[in-house]
């Protein structure tokens, strides 16, 4: 009898896969509620990628709105997103902190040298521990943190220029107007 069951197994796997794909098609691919939204940002103190002697501490940015971007060179979405981050940085509207997530530091540095560095600071999260505290599932992800150090928004997937113009930028401007 076991053999009888086994021949049906591939079909069962297929049904499972098809259900998964069906669900995948209708997922809102960008905004996912994070339990961290509207909570105070977890602490973030890590050595800087470009200068390991120096600590990056999110506390130091209190009083201004910041973007926290989670990126790595092994993540193709992040590489795609990079020119958009460069454009955002050029606007000089909001500082971007680029958390380098479980990356090879050499590669990360080379990538920034070659493609431009949009980041005001680059905390180097080699172990991924800080990212876990932030509820990061992967890369790229972008948080918006307000002047009080509260997480106000989380964007998952590469930001396009369109996303920036319609979703993130208005919120940043609004938050900058808040006391």
């Amino acid at each position: 009898m076991p053999k009888k069951f086994i021949v049906w197994l591939p079909l069962l796997v297929l049904i499972g896969l098809a259900a998964l794909f069906y669900k995948g098609l209708y997922l809102d691919t960008n905004k996912i509620p994070s339990p961290f939204i509207d909570k105070a940002a977890p602490s973030l103190v890590l050595p800087d990628l470009l200068n390991a002697q120096q600590q990056v501490n999110l506390e130091d940015w209190k009083g201004q709105v910041v973007l926290l971007n989670i990126w790595a060179t092994w993540c193709s979405g992040c590489l795609l997103e990079h020119p958009v981050l460069n454009a955002i940085a050029k606007e000089n509207l909001v500082p971007i902190i680029g958390l380098n997530y479980k990356d090879n530091s050499q590669k990360a540095k080379a990538w920034l040298k070659e493609s431009g560095n949009p980041f005001a600071a680059i905390p180097n999260d080699l172990s991924g521990q800080v990212a876990i505290n932030w509820g990061v599932y992967g890369a790229p992800e972008t948080f918006i943190i307000d002047k009080q150090g509260v997480i106000r928004y989380k964007f998952i997937a590469p930001i396009s220029m369109d996303d920036w113009a319609t979703k993130l930028r208005p919120l940043v401007v609004q938050l900058q107007g808040d006391p």
Binding site: K3, K4, V7, W8, P10, L11, L14, I15, L17, A18, L20, F21, Y22, K23, G24, L25, Y26, L27, T29, I32, S34, A72, W74, C75, S76, G77, C78, L79, L80, K102, Q106, K109, A110, K113, E114, S115, G116, G135, Y137, G138, A139, P140, E141, I156, A157, P158
Partner: protein, 649 residues
């Protein structure tokens, strides 16, 4: 007018595909009168499908900007070559090419001489189903012949990263491979349908697995080669979901090749062979779903649209679900095989299949994991190379090890022969170890994993050469099938050597440099000699020239370019590469940097010395060549001739 003709051809092609389906269902052992109309319908179907594809190409060539697709993917200034290749540069056109290739492969069934007419007719019916499904998808959601109300003066041009010779032939190669697997799929489904699953039937499928496999091997290799020199990062495989989507059918196809050998020769692994025949094509369709539906984020994705995704998903579910239901319901259970010994080619082939299956599942898991998490509401992630590089080691090293031994084992195997073999394999193993260590000591930098990979790879080559040399000395002919196998396996070894050595010995440095500055990387000195602005037909560029010297000897001059395409407002990077048999020199011009001292503009430049990297693609060429040699083995022809002879008599 031409666009309407294309549309008409597309509709007729769909109608005839439907007709193939209906006629194919009507044909059975008693009603063979439907066979001739079915074959006529097939020929007309192929004619219309190919015509509509050729019409799309003509529209691109004459730059008919009343057609939306032409506007979006070509430009008056594009060279003719890229006007043509735009026909498969985007979703709608590439889908039409998918159909054209599917139709051509369906026609190839006419060439299959050793299988009953009924099986071929039923296979044509299945091909009709596939064609009907994909053509319906094309006409309803992705018609490339849609016209615009207002005719623009110029088009937007083909995506610049695709304006490259390798990228231009990469999709047709891949498609010939992916869709070629539809033939084993159709034949196996037909066998299950008719209830005629026999070793002698499966045997004739072999060339129809090997030929698509050759195309797929070369297609994937071209894609990797393209990524290496066009993306400008010096990598050759990024474990991007779309790359994985092409790798999965390749792994399934490779497993199928091997299980088919056992089925053909010894009547073993019949279930495997049937299942893998379905899987190879299933993964091809799955790949096309992943690329075209946008469920996974990737650099390769076509613009996505949930309706399209849903349509392909439905096609995938119906085709593969149908095939697997048939498989579950009608596979001959209790199919008796003669069994095999623990040390025999059969047992190693079984191991090979298990390892390849594990590899397939690991790639699939890594590719789909982000989607699984997302579907469970756990967020979106990217599983990167760290995962793949790590898990691949655990399957690829055992695969190499068993390959070295397995290729030398005989079917069934026998006691005396095993002793002889142990000696011979031991000798080649010792040679491989000696060679690796001599080489390794000279270079003084090998890690344990590199040593293991190199020893196994060299061992595979020696163990294959032993057989070839012995046959030479004894003036015996190996047979093309055997020879092909050894060549392909040496290709695997060369590939593995390329991967291990290029990874271990690479020397990479990124520096901010000003004109005239020299940077030393490894044994090489790179002098930033000049910088020029220039204009080509459809792009502007900044070209940097580097003079490379080793010691006092000038090696080469490398040009790296940054190109800007105004048609699409995008830029690309062209790396400067000096290729060699044992090493590549690779320079990428980065961004201009804010200069520190007045007047001197600094640029970020990446310098790479990558030993043996070319062996990666060389290896794949050997694999494909091995496949090609095996296809010409006379045992796939002799019977055809003798049958024809008996038919004529």
């Amino acid at each position: 007018m031409l666009a309407e003709l294309g549309n008409l051809a597309l509709v007729l092609a769909t109608v005839f595909a439907g007709l193939m389906m209906v006629l194919g269902f009507l044909v059975n052992a008693e009603n063979s009168q439907w066979s001739t109309p079915l074959r006529r319908a097939t020929q007309l179907q192929v004619l219309f499908t190919i015509s509509s594809f050729l019409i799309l190409i003509s529209l691109l060539v004459i730059s008919d900007f009343s057609v939306a697709y032409v506007v979006q993917h070509s430009n008056l200034r594009s060279p003719l070559f890229y006007k043509i290749t735009a026909a498969w540069g985007a979703h709608e056109g590439s889908l039409l090419m998918w159909n054209a290739v599917l139709a051509l492969w369906a026609l190839s069934l006419f060439k299959l001489k050793n299988i009953s007419d009924l099986l071929i007719d039923k296979s044509l019916a299945i091909q009709g189903c596939l064609l009907f499904g994909f053509l319906l998808f094309t006409t309803l959601t992705s018609n490339p012949f849609v016209r615009l109300d207002e005719i623009p003066l110029n088009g937007m041009d083909l995506n610049p990263v695709l304006q490259d010779p390798a990228m231009a032939i990469h999709p047709p190669m891949l498609y010939l491979g992916y869709i070629g697997f539809s033939i084993p799929f159709s034949l196996v489904v037909a066998m299950l349908w008719v209830g005629d699953v026999r070793q002698s039937n499966l045997r004739w499928i072999r060339p129809w697995v090997v030929i698509p496999w050759i195309f797929l091997t070369l297609g994937i290799s071209l894609g990797s080669w393209w990524a290496y020199y066009e993306l400008g990062w010096g990598g050759w495989w990024f474990w991007d979901p779309v790359e994985n989507a092409s790798l999965m059918p390749w792994i399934a196809g490779t497993a199928l090749l091997h299980s088919l050998a056992a089925t053909e020769k010894r009547g073993l692994f019949l279930h495997w062979t049937l299942l893998l025949s379905v899987m190879a094509f299933a993964f091809s369709v799955l790949g096309s779903f992943l690329v075209r539906s946008g469920v996974l984020i990737s650099v390769h994705s076509f613009a996505s649209d949930p309706t399209r995704g849903l349509f392909i998903l439905a096609l995938f579910a119906v085709f593969v679900g149908g095939a697997l239901t048939l498989y579950a319901a009608k596979t001959p259970i209790g199919f008796k095989s003669s069994g095999f010994k623990a040390v025999s080619r059969e047992s190693v082939l079984l191991l090979n299949n298990l390892l390849l299956l594990a590899m397939l599942l690991l790639v699939m898991l890594g590719t789909l994991y982000p989607l699984i998490l997302e579907a469970l509401g756990l967020g979106k992630i990217s599983v990167g190379p760290p995962y793949f590089d790590y898990v691949m080691l655990f399957v690829s090293l055992p695969l190499l090890f068993f390959l070295a031994i397995g290729q030398r084992l005989n079917w069934k195997s026998a006691g005396k022969q095993v002793d002889k073999l142990k000696k011979s394999l031991g000798l080649s193993f010792l040679l491989a170890v000696t060679l690796t260590f001599t080489f390794g000591i000279v270079l003084n930098s090998f890690s344990i994993l590199t040593i293991i990979s190199v020893v196994f790879s060299v061992w595979i080559i020696f163990s294959a050469l032993q057989v070839i040399a012995k046959a030479r000395i004894e003036k015996k002919s190996l047979g093309l099938s055997q020879l092909g196998m050894f060549v392909a396996h040496m290709g695997v070894a060369v590939f593995a050597l390329g991967v291990a050595l290029s990874n271990q010995l690479a020397n990479v440095d990124t520096k901010a440099v000003v004109l005239g500055q020299t940077v030393v990387v490894g044994d090489y000195e790179f002098n930033f000699a000049s910088l020029k602005q220039d204009k080509e037909l459809n792009y502007q560029m900044t070209r940097a020239e580097f003079i490379v010297t080793k010691g006092l000897q000038e090696i080469t001059t490398l040009n790296s370019e940054k190109r800007f395409y105004p048609g699409r407002q995008t830029s690309t990077t062209e790396a400067g590469i000096h290729g060699g048999f044992v090493r590549d020199l690779y320079v990428t011009l980065g961004e201009p940097l804010p200069s520190s001292t007045a007047g001197e503009q600094a640029w970020s430049v990446q310098y790479q010395v990558r030993p043996f990297i070319r062996w990666i693609w060389l290896g794949t060429i050997f694999m494909a060549l091995g496949g090609l040699i095996a296809v010409f083995d006379k045992r796939y022809r002799s019977k055809a001739i003798s049958q024809e002879a008996s038919a004529n008599a």
